[in-house]
């Protein structure tokens, strides 16, 4: 199922928003209930072609995120399947209470698509970074949280979301990534995928950082360290069995994600490990509002580069912290 490249860093890169809009159009052709809901974010969500194909089915409420999410909940009440597309920072931050009350607590069939998440907006700064979204939405009951790693997984997760009933949050990456999965990949909710076998240490990652974790494993192999790489597209519900197995079978776990260091994937893994099989966990992410810099620069700066992740793993294996 997975393509483990000898050097994944050399592979062509893709913007996951292209897979997003292509898949959304495919789903909309097949099912008249599917509609898009946006906050003027037609261009930044790459939905111009969708609007052309389905002019009545792209609801643009203007720059009004609270209204956007409430409207989506009402559309779901009327039997539609709304896919809300907006920059993740504004979707989750501005409309958090609507997400909690109108979507999650009301248990409406709304799909929230957080575009350009993490630090994708780079130099635009922390107002436009969305590193908190996973932690915020993971705290809300009824909410499923999915962080796809490449265009294949983005498309697969969207198809799964359209076919399932209930609230879902999917991050759609803007920062380009190589393909990690082959085209026959099928998304399974709440399942980790072992994208590389290993028994010295485990790297758990998702989103734009997964390929970096794979590249880190390649470097660790050169040092004689066998790193298991778990892809964890579903942050909630978490595959706790895979986490516990990693804690039991390897020397420790490094989590790496394009999000705050704590509360997201790393937090979820640490909660599981502490309660079910105490082991060493190193959480990589952003510990503060990021300074000015491009997305790539910021990932490197906070240890989310292949070398940074490999360093954290080496440290964990050799010093136990």
């Amino acid at each position: 199922m997975t393509l483990v490249h000898t050097s994944i860093a050399e592979q062509p890169r893709y913007d996951c928003r292209d897979a997003y809009v292509e898949t959304l159009a495919e789903l909309a052709h097949a099912d008249h209930r599917i509609v898009g809901v946006v906050n003027d974010s037609v261009g930044s969500s790459k939905l111009n072609s969708f609007r052309k194909a389905f002019p009545d089915r792209l609801i643009n409420v203007g720059i009004a995120e609270q209204d956007m999410v409430g409207v989506a909940s009402g559309l779901a009440n009327g039997g539609r399947i709304p896919f809300v597309s907006a920059a993740s920072c504004f979707l989750t931050g501005r409309a958090l209470e609507q997400i909690k009350a109108d979507v999650a607590y009301s248990n409406t069939n709304v799909k929230l698509c957080g575009m350009s998440p993490g630090v994708a907006y780079g130099e635009l700064g922390p107002t436009h970074h969305s590193i908190e979204d996973i932690a915020w939405l993971r705290a809300i009951a009824n909410m499923t949280v999915i962080v796809p790693a490449d265009p294949v997984e983005t498309a697969a997760a969207l198809r799964w979301a359209a076919a399932s009933e209930g609230p879902v949050f999917i991050r759609v990456s803007r920062m380009s990534v190589p393909k990690v999965y082959s085209d026959d990949y099928e998304f399974q909710l709440g399942k980790a995928i072992t994208v590389r076998e290993g028994d010295d240490v485990t790297l758990i990652s998702n989103g734009t950082v997964l390929w970096r974790a794979l590249a880190a494993a390649e470097r660790l192999a050169e040092d004689g360290i066998s790193a298991r790489v778990l892809s964890m597209p579903t942050v909630k519900p978490l595959d706790t069995d895979a986490v516990v197995a990693a804690a039991r079978e390897t020397a420790g776990i490094v989590t790496a994600e394009e999000a705050v260091a704590g509360g997201g994937l790393g937090g979820a893994v640490a909660e599981t490990v502490v309660q079910q099989h105490p082991a060493r966990v190193s959480i990589l992410g952003f510990p503060e509002f990021a300074p000015t810099g491009s997305a790539g620069y910021l990932l490197d700066r906070y240890g989310l580069s292949p070398e940074g992740i490999a360093d954290a793993a080496r440290k964990l294996v050799t010093t136990g912290s």
Binding site: D56, A64, S73, G74, N77
Partner: protein, 301 residues
Amino acid sequence: MTLTVEHATLPVLGRLPIHSSRAEQIAHIAEAAKQIRIQDLKLVHHAGAGHIGGDFSAIDILATLYGAVLHITPETVNDPERDRFILSKGHVAGALYTTLAAFGFLPVAELATFLKPLSALNGHPNRNKVAGVEANTGPLGHGLPVAVGHALSAKLDVSLRRTYVLVGDGELQEGSNWEAMMAASQYQLDRLTVIVDRNRLQQGATTKETNDLDPLPEKAAAFGFAVVEVNGHDHGELLDVLSAVPFRPGKPTFVIAHTHKGHPISFMSNNVAWHHRVPDAAEFQQALTELERPRFTGELV
């Protein structure tokens, strides 16, 4: 004070036959409103909690909607083509539950569980637990956007189903309402009716003292709505207006229903203290006596 099933005394009134006269409908709504108030008073008094002021300002509107306006019955509560009613001022859940029970959506005996542990009847309504509730409301400024979304779904379906949303006037201080009103106008949602429970009181003061909404009719008109003002306790006016929407093709309707919090109880009406005060035994008896008077009037006190 403990609420028990003995306090669930509400008669089930149901709906009149379709061809009833206007006078019959008004009499039916008036009787429903009276019985709903009596039951709601008992709920709040015996449960020791609730928002009786806001309940009583909204009950005539709720009784009119469920008694004669909405195309929805206990049998069609899940019919995709039903009219939708969204209670945005979710803190008057007690009034909504009692109304739903009066018209057969909820067993009257279940009212005795109001606010009790594990009851479906929370202090704010839950659509997944109570048949007839369309949205989980409580935080203010949520119902109107949801109603816009529903009205949009009806428009996409080329359906004539209507959407009504009841918002508090203080609630209009939430900016999300104005976002939603712009979208309702932009999409020409003329099957959407916003009803404002204009009692001019919020939790601790008048709206005017807090964050004045006036000139509200002009503001709503400027946002693209057809605006109508009614006496929110006059069942005839409410029936005529709420049945007649839309008034302007292509425009959503904004009904400003002038009400009094606590209406028509002499010591509660238009008194800010009764936002969520609970009547003691003497107050309970007096309110009950006033409600049970044979000549129950819709006039503003």
